[in-house]
Symmetry: C2
Subunit: 367 residues, 2 copies
């Protein structure tokens, strides 16, 4: 099981520690996404050296390939992928709605078709927990329903009620010592978010996540909901904003009291040549970098910026070299992990608002 | 410039040192291929940590992309790709005949079309040396003509004569301190190989390479030529067999007195899931490895074999994960670099024939 300790606060922003049997997670934290048992393009050693204290695995993907029973047989996900710090797995709820061809949703669960071979199978609260227990992460997530935005109040009210019933079944299905987080739904409806939270707190979880954001609404709508709502989550437990987001999203959410993040942006963008720097985003394929001997981000201390030029990074990207995806991913993960580390230091120093303002002034310099 | 010192001999097999301003190369040596300014899927630090003391760059490829003038402007290939040990570049001769759509070969050189965009341009001895001097390797290669096998004696005789004239022009074109190797042609005709060698030695080079093998002939034909011919190359200079080959090819060629090798096999095969082990080649995608918790090669001490199972390597390959290409390449390069290192130790110990026999008994165990 895990414990959470709040160590500092600056406005609503919090710094804390999540202690787990596999190591301590210093919050606010960003969790690199390791969809299929690998943070794409990286070794576990590199991810750890960059300062990641926890990574995310995807229940849906690992259930389909190579299969959670196989991973269990081979000693669990940590052993399988050679990552020995904490892992959080999602429940598969999000992928059902984003990836799979949904065939039937009932009270029991969801029957859907695999995005790989079209085979149909069911995910339910019980099945999701069973799969997650096979994978053996340190933190599991409840099986939830995540509707697309915009959605009517009536549609969302039903979704919240179903998510609560599934959360209760998820908790009842757990037979292990692994931590379990509840997922708050309710879209942009403040009253439904509040109801969802209350119902989940009544069941009781080891942490609380805000799901169903960054699914079509504007950043401003998301920031407004977070500002009004995030600080209402239990002060005694970790608060996790799922699937978010851009650097500015992280800083705004931290300002509202969020502790944990995951997102494919730094890794996926890296593979597409979109790089995060302290002076904003850089598209490395641009012709203006062809002869540029400068490091990608002159203010960055990462291995890539210390050893390679923009011209070389551009050449690798244009030539579709594997090293391009490696170096780009390395740099982007360094950027995200440094960002939350600096946020933590600012909270610790009681000057988070100033840190956020200073970061934005530089990051949006070209806007 | 470079110097060569022979340090031990076992039969015709030699162990030696090539000393260059950028570091010492212990022979026999395998040179990983870094076609486009990167050994595919690897960082320079990893390549060096695996024991590579020299890598190969491709003049043809780098001339087309990103351009040798650009690389020169950015400080040369070492600086550009962050590899600070020796580099050898080929002359582009081989790629002209293997890759490009040949449009016209004259005494002057070859006009051909780029395999990327169809642009036509000329490579000649002077142009090749100019490009190589822009790239700035420690060892350059003469521009040669490499005909496909089989070829008639008459065709090959003309090729040898042209290669000699081009070798003289290559040497005359050099204006730098970089070392320059001559390339012996002549196919499988022993008399032509001998003539080519004599003509090149008369011109005088810093090392001598055997080109035009592994281009369609049988391994037995190649071994026979090497056995009869390789020991006739100057004992005082490095001997380089270009573009070869399988592990057994390396061991046979070393037995005939060859010191240097390059080949895309370990890196290219890795990306296709074909892995070299002490017990022979393994195709990691095979279903029999699905649940296999064993390391790829239980006798291998590389990082991959120490940390990952065959089941995980298979999962990464099937899922087309970038880490698959990384770990496979890492292992295969480790295998090749260990192979030549062990060969060197055996030569040093005066028991090379025994080493070769023992290796083959294990490597071909399943044949």
């Amino acid at each position: 099981m895990i414990t959470f300790e709040k160590q500092a606060q600056s406005g609503s922003a919090r710094a804390g520690c999540i202690r787990t049997p596999r190591g301590t997670i210093h919050t606010p934290i960003f969790m690199p996404v390791g969809t299929l048992g690998t943070v794409k393009a990286m070794t576990p050693e590199e991810v750890q050296a960059l300062g990641a204290e926890i990574i995310l695995g995807n229940t849906y993907h690992l259930h389909l390939r190579p299969g959670d029973a196989l991973i269990h047989q081979l000693g669990g996900l940590h052993q399988f992928m050679n990552w020995h710090l904490p892992i959080l797995t999602d429940s598969g709820g999000f992928q059902i709605f984003s990836l799979a061809k949904l065939t039937k949703k009932t009270e029991e669960g969801v029957v859907f078709q695999s995005h790989i071979n079209g085979d149909s199978f069911m995910l339910s609260p019980e099945k999701s927990i069973q799969v997650q227990q096979n994978l053996g992460p340190d933190i599991m997530m409840c099986f939830d329903e995540c509707p697309k935005l915009p959605a009517t109040h009536q549609r969302m009210e039903k979704s919240v009620a179903l998510t609560t019933r599934w959360a209760k079944r998820s908790k009842d299905a757990r037979t292990s010592e692994q931590a379990l987080f509840g997922i708050i739904q309710g879209g942009l409806y403040f009253d439904l978010r509040k109801r969802s939270l209350e119902e989940l707190v009544n069941i009781g979880f080891d942490g609380y996540a805000i799901g169903g954001l960054s699914v079509g609404e504007s950043p401003q709508d998301m920031y407004e909901l977070l500002e009004q709502f995030a600080h209402q989550l239990p002060d005694t437990h970790p608060r996790y904003l799922m699937g978010v987001g851009e650097p500015e999203d992280l800083l705004e959410a931290i300002d509202s009291g969020i502790d944990m993040f995951d997102c494919v942006l730094p890794t996926r963008n890296a593979r597409n040549g979109s790089l995060f720097t302290s002076h904003g985003k850089v598209s490395i394929k641009q012709a203006k970098y062809r002869k540029d001997s400068q490091p990608l981000d002159p203010d960055c201390h990462c291995h890539v910026c210390q050893n390679y030029s923009r011209a070389y990074l551009r050449h690798l990207f244009i030539s579709k070299e594997i090293l391009s995806m490696r170096l780009n991913t390395y740099h982007n993960l360094h950027f995200y992990l440094q960002l939350v580390k600096q946020a933590r230091q600012a909270i610790d120093g009681g000057n988070y608002a100033h840190f956020k303002k200073t970061f934005f002034e530089k990051y949006f310099i070209n806007d």
